[in-house]
Symmetry: C2
Subunit: 410 residues, 2 copies
């Protein structure tokens, strides 16, 4: 009997997509489903960047340079300069989405058995790349009560072992929306320099910062050897399907190793690189409108959530996600119930159970992630559904006064 | 001091691309370089498939299904049917190039320490994916004298151990151009069934079969659980830069495992899927012209090579590669010398040293791979260069009569 690999068995199923069959069944039954479960923005992809592809003269769609077209890397240099990041074209490898940049980081910097510390809740697919690379994820818990601020250095120190090789940070954060402040980024620097760790910085949501200053890991002086920036145009230009990202580092040994991985897969997607190049020419004002839209959505979502009895949602500083604590027994059951057994005016809402974003078993059972990727009207309807659902859900658990006080709700 | 990973150190540099700096220097010195070193066809990408992208209405370029758009997978089913392969849409995962399909196979089917047997010379990047997955490549040697026919079953039996989990076959072959016949494919089936092995079948060059019948691993009855097909549109439609491939298997456990890897990286490139879908609608006659062109090129190349004193080139049955045995001391030195120290009428030729295609150290030192991806006129000029170069090369080694007789040149 042929066996699949251990990795194939251990590989986690996507916590975001596993409810999809229930959503499809609900739709077949005539129920409208508001998708707040996945970070697929509804913002229009800038027509000019698609036009660049339409207008391109492509007699032969050839392999590009394995690091990506030089012309695109030069453009990226100017883009990064505009956000205070000074790099050269030969410090950038254009990747197939941010996903491949994360994978290159795991494979180039970590050995099987090595450990990577990630503040939880975290982007669930880090688990998948860790399984691929045979790396152990060591979570340290950020609490919803503190709005998911970086846990204190002492928490990192507690879990650092000789096998610890890297920390992953994502700011603004997916799934929490939390924006790490300068002090927190400096704390990460201190830990990394003290313990000789890589800092993998996932900055997919850089442009969507609503309160406070965005601090890139690349802004940290003295961290040139430690920082690997993992980037993508997916959210920046609402171009998730392009699959175009970047692996950026000033550490030459890491860069050279990543180039060998890049050569093995030949080149990143060609048409997407034309889009990416055109995107750098968008005026800086391009971001004003999506940003204003996301702020309005966030404000509506957070207000509505916190008005619901027993619900607490800290105000996210960036990205387009919010985590909410709900008065429920089990977020996996609740999210499935929303699709399988509930509707309000023939509508329901699809959420992501938070359990998939925690590395520590048992955490996130009364939390969900909401992606505010729908317009204000749909979002409002989705909140109506959630409000009604929480009233009807058989697994509702009354929050004690003490818990409510702890969640600092005012 | 931060260290890169063992994998990062062991990862081989691309044997095809490592000579690039020498080619760039030659061009700067005004020398025209004929690139026979890389499988980048000069055949026009069908304009209709690029037009499909141009005409597509894309308000938001969203993530596709992790397995690829269902509409594209349905189209692929009809394409596969046209080449005698019967599969369903849920046996196909659309991948980022054939590269990702190979990677999924390694990660889903093989554990670190497992062994995969590959007839050598073989596509060099299999080594890279093996390092990524921690898998050991076990080569068995196909000889240029036999035209690179499949080594006898007894050679496989000699190297099979309890750790052997798969065989990789590529037909028509890169780098040899060899087309495996039905008997050879049946021999592979016998070995795989007897020893419970996966058969990874890389069929990137399926359409370019010049003599004899193309036999897919998917045509082998009783091998449904064993076969993983790794496919790509790169060569089929001269669309290497699209980065679009397919992972196809009837083994449900393998498929389900691969889907988890596919979900971790979210989706394959979106614009390329539009191209791929349009490509299935090209008339079957589309292949007539590129095929006729490749045959003419092959005929010219093989004739010219075999006319050169001391050179032997078996006639390839497919793909667009040929391997030639040259009267030289060291193919790496020779290929570098061609770029660094030689020119003929201000022209030279870039070849791929065969050493990078062998797993056994020391083999391929007097062989090169030539990709016939240039038009007949350029190809003829390139052969003029090679002929002159072999006369002038200081490391020329006279082939003995016995060797020439063995190479069965007639």
């Amino acid at each position: 009997m042929l066996q699949i690999s251990n990795r194939g068995q251990q590989m986690p199923a996507s916590p975001i997509r596993k409810l999809v069959p229930y959503a499809e069944a609900a739709k077949k039954n005539g129920v409208k489903v508001y998708h707040l479960n996945i970070g697929q923005p509804d913002i229009e992809t800038p027509p000019s960047i698609l036009d660049a592809v339409r207008k391109a003269d492509i007699p032969v769609l050839e392999y590009s340079h394995s690091a990506g077209n030089e012309s695109y890397r030069k453009k990226l240099v100017s883009y990064y300069k505009s956000v205070g990041i000074n790099v050269t074209p030969d410090q950038i490898i254009v990747t197939t989405g941010g996903s491949e940049a994360i994978m290159f980081g795991f494979f180039c910097c970590l050995n099987p058995g090595d450990e990577v510390i990630i503040p939880e809740p975290f982007y669930a697919n880090y688990n998948g790349f860790a399984v691929e690379a045979g790396v152990k994820v060591v979570p340290i818990t950020a609490s919803i009560e503190s709005g998911f601020a970086l846990p204190p250095i002492s928490e990192f120190e507690k879990v650092i072992t000789p096998n610890t090789k890297a920390i992953i940070v994502c700011s603004p954060n997916n799934p929490t929306g939390y924006l790490y402040g300068r002090e927190e980024m400096e704390a990460l620097k201190t830990i990394c320099l003290k313990h000789n760790l890589y800092l993998f910085s996932d900055e997919a949501y850089r442009e969507f910062t609503y309160s406070g200053e965005f601090v890139s890991a690349m802004h940290l002086d003295g961290m040139e050897e430690n920082v690997v920036l993992m980037d993508t145009i997916s959210k920046r230009y609402s171009a998730c399907g392009a699959r175009l990202g970047a692996f950026v580092t000033k550490n030459k040994a890491v860069y050279d190793a990543a180039m060998k991985f890049a050569q093995a897969r030949l080149s990143p997607p060609g048409l997407a690189q034309i889009m990416g190049e055109a995107a750098v020419d968008l005026p800086p004002s391009y971001f004003d409108s999506p940003k204003a839209e996301y702020i309005a959505r966030r404000d509506l979502l957070v207000k509505r959530l916190n008005e619901m009895p027993g619900v607490f949602c800290p105000n996210p500083g960036g990205a387009f996600y919010a985590m909410a604590k709900l008065p429920i027994d089990d977020s996996d059951k609740f999210c499935q119930w929303l699709l399988e057994s509930f509707s309000h005016n023939s509508q329901t809402v699809m959420l992501a159970p938070a359990t998939g974003f925690y590395g520590t078993p048992g955490l996130g059972k009364n939390e969900v992630r909401l992606a505010y990727v729908l317009n204000l009207n749909d979002l409002s309807n989705a909140m109506d559904c959630l409000e009604k659902a929480l009233e009807q859900y058989p697994g509702r658990v009354e929050t004690t006064r003490r818990e409510l006080a702890m969640s600092n709700k005012q």
